[in-house]
């Protein structure tokens, strides 16, 4: 187990270097220059352009820039400064990450509670009316784009009924983040529900289930321990990678509800060719993915003792 974890952690290093380098090169090859972009239609004076580029180290070859940047991250935990504002990228990340983490967390909890719950209900009553209702509802959610769902929720609950504020204020309290959390989590919720339903319906027919019932075990134990534990493996796999996706994919939801999180920052950084900010953001997202997939893999052993790690 310990060796497995160590090996996995070591594997993260090349993945980390590879992804950051890729992002760096991708931003670099995009047409458009972040410094020139500051001047817009008014045109730029070449001497100032050159001076600014020099100060930012943008006149260096790309690999030298990458090396300098990674050196800063690895040895000083310094993600560099934003080109336009001159703010340290760590500050930018520090502003944006907590909000998105909160939002993703809310979405994640909703997704687990509602998704697994609905999936269980449907799975246990496979083929019955409840099952069909859940299937239809989840199909609806899956087929609707996020901004449609968001727009619908907003226009019904904020504008027609007036129950909620349409947008998240600057404080971004938990209560305010609840609505965008539902919207963000809705798509994955539908997937989780369907995944849970299918595996449960399948496992219900498994031999060990028949045995458990024949042994005369109480129903709670049959469903809770025997059925759930076995059915959750694919769901946990999905949930693990989904947290990363929730954080990175919040662009639309955040824009819709005026949440100042990672989504908007990523978008801004691409538009403004802010390579350093982008790499910083993606680095952390990559780390989230890597850690989550490690946790998922370790959870397998908990759920199914037959799985062992050498």
């Amino acid at each position: 187990m310990g060796r497995y974890v160590a090996r996995r952690l070591l594997q993260m290093i090349p993945v980390f270097i590879g992804t950051t380098l890729l992002i760096f090169l991708m931003v670099y090859t995009l047409p458009g220059d972040p410094v020139r972009g500051l001047f817009g239609d008014k045109g730029a004076d070449p001497a100032t352009l050159a001076a600014m580029r020099h100060q930012l180290g943008l006149d260096q070859p790309i690999l030298v820039q990458y090396w300098d940047y990674m050196k800063g991250i690895l040895f000083h935990f310094d993600f560099g400064n934003q080109i336009a504002s001159g703010r340290p990228v760590t500050d930018v990340l520090g502003d944006a990450f907590p909000v998105t983490l909160e939002l993703a967390g809310i979405a994640f909890v909703i997704e687990i509670v509602l998704g697994v719950g609905l999936g269980m209900i449907a799975g246990l009553r496979a083929g019955k009316l409840t099952d069909n209702i859940v299937l239809i509802v989840t199909l609806l959610i899956i087929s609707m784009p996020v901004f449609v769902i968001g727009f619908l929720i907003k226009s019904v609950f904020a504008f027609q009924l007036g129950w909620i504020e349409p947008n998240v204020s600057n404080n971004a309290t938990l209560g305010e983040l609840f609505t965008p959390g539902i919207v963000l989590g809705s798509l994955s919720l539908a997937y989780v529900a369907r995944l849970t339903r299918t595996t449960m319906a399948e496992n219900l027919r498994a031999d060990y289930m028949r045995t458990a019932i024949a042994k005369g075990l109480p129903k709670r134990r049959i469903v809770g321990v025997h059925l759930m534990r076995n059915s959750l493996i694919p769901v946990v796999t999905f949930l693990g990678t989904d947290l990363g996706a929730l954080m990175g994919g919040a662009v639309v939801t955040e824009g819709l509800f005026n949440v100042k999180g990672i989504g908007g920052t990523i978008f801004d950084s691409i538009v403004r060719r802010e390579g350093t900010t982008l790499v910083g953001l993606v680095t952390i997202l990559v780390l989230v993915y890597l850690v989550m997939s490690l946790i998922v893999d370790l959870l397998y052993a908990v759920l199914d003792p037959r799985i062992r790690y050498a």
Partner: protein, 546 residues
């Protein structure tokens, strides 16, 4: 307030061709009256306004885009400002005098203080300008000082060149409240330039740590900086010691950051933000019905044009008649009414409205839709090579719809094939312009920097001017611009530029399309919300109701 609005245009000037729904509500221009119901006013009331996160630190010489300049302009006052008709008025200056338009003497009003309590002196100006012009400080707006004698010493041209001096020789402090500016050559409208943010004074504390000062600016303006919660809001409060003519009628301003214009409009309707600068295309058909007399629909001094790439295969050595013809093939009236939903007004010249020297209908026939004449002119001029033109635009700015409409108009009127050449975003668009890769036309625009017609001519059409990205060059015109710049008085200079604008028809350096309008609104909490020539609300005039 008078900044390059490129960033705003990218983010905001998105106009999508929705079906032209009839707008309900009343259409009269409420901006002038500032709303009908005048309530009791709370002089200390604080209101909020939608503003994006400034791109740059809040240093006056480094702030070019609109999100930053509206804040720096609240915190810093300059020597002069303009009234809505474009007339110069003194702010921090007692007087700005010259006899030969070359040597200017500035006298400051006594008793002005920075927000940290230190006095505003002649030195505060001279030192700030020298710092901003110095190449080692790499300020985006440095080129504004290029008129001043000795600029080349502090801001040499070559790549990586070091400054030869610390200060411009043209700036001299006479005493605490007087300094002189000597220019390289006469410039009758130089005093108008002095209203631009870049000419702000800086307190002594700035130089200790310019970067920190950009995060927490100390100015001399009508508002004092309080806090900047990045990506969320910036707060300023009224400066009670302010001596300028534009003392704030409110207690302060909160510049709120929104992710999209749509969310800002929703918050306006639910009372969470008070003033907007712009609306999203989605809300344009309904905003007048929603807001009633709080809806703003007002012209401001900006123009959109089709830039002509004179180096391109299409237009290299072109007869201006061809461009005239193409211009006449554009049905501006219909496009502004339908595709642009009345948010623009057909342009009839190169200088925008509200600017000193604006002339109505100066381009004459050339901006009127006339397919027969258009075809004839193009034929006379030798036709368009390949019988095909391209219009380059940035796909992230919402320009696609009108570009297509313009193209259709050209195609139908003249039979010349016209295709939109879409670049992924503004950065890529600029890249192609700088690399001289534009195939024929490119989308271009200009918001005033100072309300004199020279700003729309000299800064755009002079050979080698920074705003002249199409490579237009005409020695005869350059000569006339030079003559207009060295005219004996402002009036004569403006007149000379008016004459030049009349002649532009013969050269067609760009095709004028339409003037911009402010389409915005404000909440029930505020009144007397007016918008200046640059399209930004006049913050100091806003009154918060009790």
């Amino acid at each position: 307030m008078r900044g390059a609005k490129s960033a705003k245009w990218v983010a905001g000037a998105a106009i999508i061709a929705l079906a032209a729904t009839a707008c309900g509500g009343n259409d009269d221009d409420s901006a002038k009256s500032g709303g009908s119901a005048k309530g009791a006013v709370d002089p200390n009331g604080i209101f909020s306004i939608e503003v994006g996160e400034p791109q740059n630190p809040l240093q006056p010489a480094n702030t070019m885009e609109s999100n930053g300049s509206i804040v720096t302009d609240a915190i810093f006052s300059q020597l002069v400002d303009y009234d809505p008709t474009g007339k110069l008025e003194m702010v921090n200056a007692e007087s700005v005098d010259t006899t030969d338009s070359k040597l200017w003497t500035v006298k400051l009003k006594a008793g002005w203080k920075f927000h940290d309590g230190t006095p505003v002196t002649a030195e505060s100006y001279v030192k700030a300008w020298n710092w901003a012009a110095n190449i080692t400080n790499a300020q985006t707006n440095a080129s504004w000082f290029s008129d001043i004698k000795g600029y080349a010493d502090v801001h040499p041209d070559g790549d990586g060149a070091k400054p030869k001096a610390d200060a411009m020789s043209g700036l001299k402090v006479v005493d605490d409240t007087t300094f002189t500016i000597e220019l390289n050559s006469a410039l009758p409208y130089f005093s108008y330039k002095l209203g631009y943010t870049v000419f702000s004074p800086l307190p002594e504390s700035f130089y200790a740590d310019p970067k920190a000062a950009g995060e927490k600016p100390v100015g001399n303006g009508a508002y004092k900086f309080v806090s900047w919660d990045h990506k969320k809001q910036i707060k300023v409060v009224r400066n009670d010691d302010y001596k300028g003519p534009d003392k704030a009628k409110n207690g302060g301003v909160i510049f709120k950051n929104y992710t999209t214009l749509e969310t800002a409009y929703e918050d306006l309707k639910s009372g969470n933000v008070d003033v907007l600068r712009q609306l999203a295309p989605k809300d344009l058909p309904v905003y007048k019905a929603d807001l009633g007399d709080r809806a703003v629909d007002q012209a401001y001094s900006a123009i959109q044009t089709l830039g002509v790439a004179f180096y391109s295969p299409t237009f290299k050595g072109v007869d201006p008649k061809v461009i005239q013809g193409l211009s006449m093939a554009i049905d501006r009236n219909t496009i502004t009414k339908t595709v642009l939903q009345g948010t623009r007004e057909p342009a009839t010249g190169w200088v925008a409205k509200g600017v000193l020297g604006y002339q109505d209908n100066v381009a004459g026939d050339v901006t009127t839709y006339n397919p027969t004449k258009a075809k004839a002119l193009i034929k006379e001029g030798g036709g368009v090579p390949g019988n095909k033109v391209f219009i380059q635009f940035n796909a992230d700015g919402g320009h696609k719809e009108w570009v297509e409409a313009v193209c259709n108009s050209i195609k139908q009127a003249t039979g010349v094939e016209c295709v939109g050449d879409s670049k992924t975003d503004f950065q890529a668009d600029l890249n192609a312009r700088d690399a001289k890769e534009v195939k024929s036309f490119y989308r271009s625009g200009w918001v005033l920097d100072y309300p004199v017609n020279a700003n729309f001519i000299s800064d755009l059409f002079k050979t080698g001017a920074a705003g002249n990205q199409g490579g237009f060059s005409n020695p005869a015109l350059d000569k006339e611009i030079k003559a207009a710049d060295s005219a004996a008085s402002l009036d004569e200079s403006v007149k000379a530029y008016q004459q030049i604008e009349k002649e532009l028809v013969n050269y067609m350096p760009t095709i004028p399309l339409w003037y911009y309008k402010v389409n915005a609104g404000y909440s029930e909490k505020v009144q007397n919300v007016q918008y200046a020539q640059d399209g930004d609300p006049i913050l100091t005039g806003v009154e918060v109701k009790k």
